[in-house]
């Protein structure tokens, strides 16, 4: 309790310091004793601490004149460590329960959590991928579909069902070259648990790969190309243009898709996407037909973010990690 008291006393002193426009006299600290007084001295000097936003904005303004090209060409640390370009951003009501499910069923390892059941932000690692889980009872759900590459489809499928997932398709071998099963988790996300027959790795195809079922896949691919500079890696389609399956590269990640059909219908998914220059990509995505959901803003957690909705119902949360310069 004694420490709690000193914590509160310190905050009272900080609040008083921040409320003064003139610098606090040095003697003020001496009225309180010992350790607290020393901390107040540090706090007093911190009063002029520059805002990160100011520092970044000034750099940007100076950069607007001369620095931008040279800086941007060499910039490589625009993603938070541990993140790929594309991260599924699962927004669900039972967020806490979903995290537990992912641990139990898919061996997810929790990397970061804040908030509570009312409003949770959690990051888990599954294989080489990070998955963001955000939500709570009052959140609008935005589940996603994901291709989940595993060494043993049957075992993971059985674990998922045992942990409470609903089976959408039991494991079976598919002629296009993989063994695959499908489950829906308690948050409504679809997981296509798969193992490719061809063991040759596909570059940038990660353990958890976002999967889309757009109505109008060719148009969706064009949007990804124009908005985000996507490159088509694979495209299988009928002579009439019905896209059975496509793999498209965005930065260091691949996203997959197949035209909506039967039970596989569009989901209004959210995707967290790291880009080198969030402002530029935001503008480019708008001119490619996206709609602004939020303008570029610096976030307290160190990312500058903006978000774009595409006409297929997905939300692209664009982010540039600002790191610590």
């Amino acid at each position: 309790m004694a420490e709690r008291s000193i914590i509160d006393q310190l905050d009272d002193a900080v609040t008083a310091l921040l409320a003064q426009r003139e610098p606090a006299p040095a003697e003020a600290a001496s009225e309180i004793g010992g350790e607290l007084a020393e901390l107040v001295v540090v706090a007093r000097e911190l009063r002029g601490l520059p805002s990160e936003q100011f520092r970044a904005t000034l750099k940007e303004q100076l950069g607007g004149k001369y620095m931008s090209t040279a800086m941007r060409e060499t910039k490589s640390n625009f993603k938070r460590p541990g993140f790929h370009t594309i991260t599924p951003h699962l927004m669900v009501k039972p967020a806490v329960e979903l995290v537990d499910f992912l641990k139990q069923a898919f061996g997810a390892v929790e990397a970061l959590r804040y908030g509570s059941a009312d409003g949770l932000h959690c990051e888990v690692k599954i294989g080489d991928s990070t998955v963001l889980i955000v939500g709570g009872p009052t959140f609008d759900p935005h589940p996603a579909a994901m291709h989940f590459y595993v060494p043993d489809v049957d075992e993971v499928y059985a674990r998922a069902v045992a942990a409470g997932a609903t089976s959408l398709a039991a494991p079976s071998d598919q002629e296009y070259g993989e063994r695959i099963a499908a489950v829906k988790d308690i948050g409504g996300n679809e997981w296509y648990i798969a193992k490719r027959f061809d063991p040759t790795p596909i570059q940038d195809l990660h353990t958890v790969t976002v999967y889309f079922h757009p109505v109008g896949a060719p148009k969706f691919i064009t949007f990804l190309e124009n908005a985000f500079g996507a490159q088509v890696v694979e495209r299988h389609q009928s002579p009439e243009g019905f896209v059975y399956h496509a793999k498209v590269r965005l930065g260091d990640s691949i996203v997959e898709m197949g035209e909506a059909h039967d039970q596989w219908q569009p989901m209004q998914s959210a995707i967290y996407m790291y880009v080198e220059d969030v402002d530029a990509v935001y503008k480019q995505a708008l001119s490619a037909g996206g709609t602004s959901a939020s303008e570029p803003t610096n976030q307290p957690y160190g990312d500058r973010t903006a978000s774009i909705k595409d006409e297929f119902g997905n939300t692209w949360q664009l982010a540039t990690w600002q790191g610590r310069v």
């Binding site: 540090v42 002029g48 990160e52 004149k65």
Partner: protein, 181 residues
């Protein structure tokens, strides 16, 4: 960014003179000291920011004219800052009264205090991430504990704890540096 040697600094200046795109490195290297220099004299955040922006804009515009005479680059930046502060003081004093004396344009003798302040600003960057965020939001953005708790989705008690730990760590860091000197 850590300190650089004299020859590294000269190389950075030459690089920026040949390609202003390289000025970013000098900006990063000197930002905290320039900001601290101004913040030690001007106690209004928005004036400090305007002056800091002015100093770097002037430095970038005139980098081609900078000549190495043995003094570190920061001295040149301090000179620009001192002139800018003096200009501003003169402008203000003209607005207020004609009788104010001319402002001091010397780079001045309190550089030790400036260095200490700049070290403190840099030390904030090395704090554990959650403490760093709280200190930056509290002192850099001047947000209340309640606002920070809401931004970071933590309880107010947790934010006060992080503020306390952050200040403790900064005090320890300053002590270590003072002992090393």
């Amino acid at each position: 960014m850590s300190r650089v040697t004299e020859s590294e600094e000269r190389a950075l200046i030459e690089a920026a003179q040949n390609d202003p795109g390289r000025f970013a490195e000098l900006y990063e290297l000197n930002f905290h000291r320039v900001y601290a220099y101004i913040a030690c004299r001007i106690h209004d955040r928005s004036e400090t920011q305007d002056l800091a922006a002015h100093v770097f804009q002037q430095a970038l515009a005139n980098i081609g004219k900078f000549k190495w005479r043995g003094a570190p680059f920061i001295t040149w930046l301090y000179r620009i800052a001192a002139n800018a502060i003096a200009d501003q003081a003169r402008k203000k004093s003209r607005e207020l009264t004609e009788t104010e004396g001319a402002a001091d344009t010397s780079v001045a003798s309190d550089l030790e205090q400036v260095e200490r302040r700049a070290r403190l600003f840099r030390a904030v960057e090395a704090l554990p991430e959650d403490q760093r965020k709280v200190i930056i939001l509290r002192f850099g953005e001047e947000k209340s504990i309640r606002e920070i708790a809401s931004d970071l989705n933590r309880s107010e008690g947790a934010i006060k704890q992080l503020q306390f730990r952050g200040l403790e760590n900064l005090r320890a860091r300053l002590r270590e540096e003072a002992e090393l000197k």
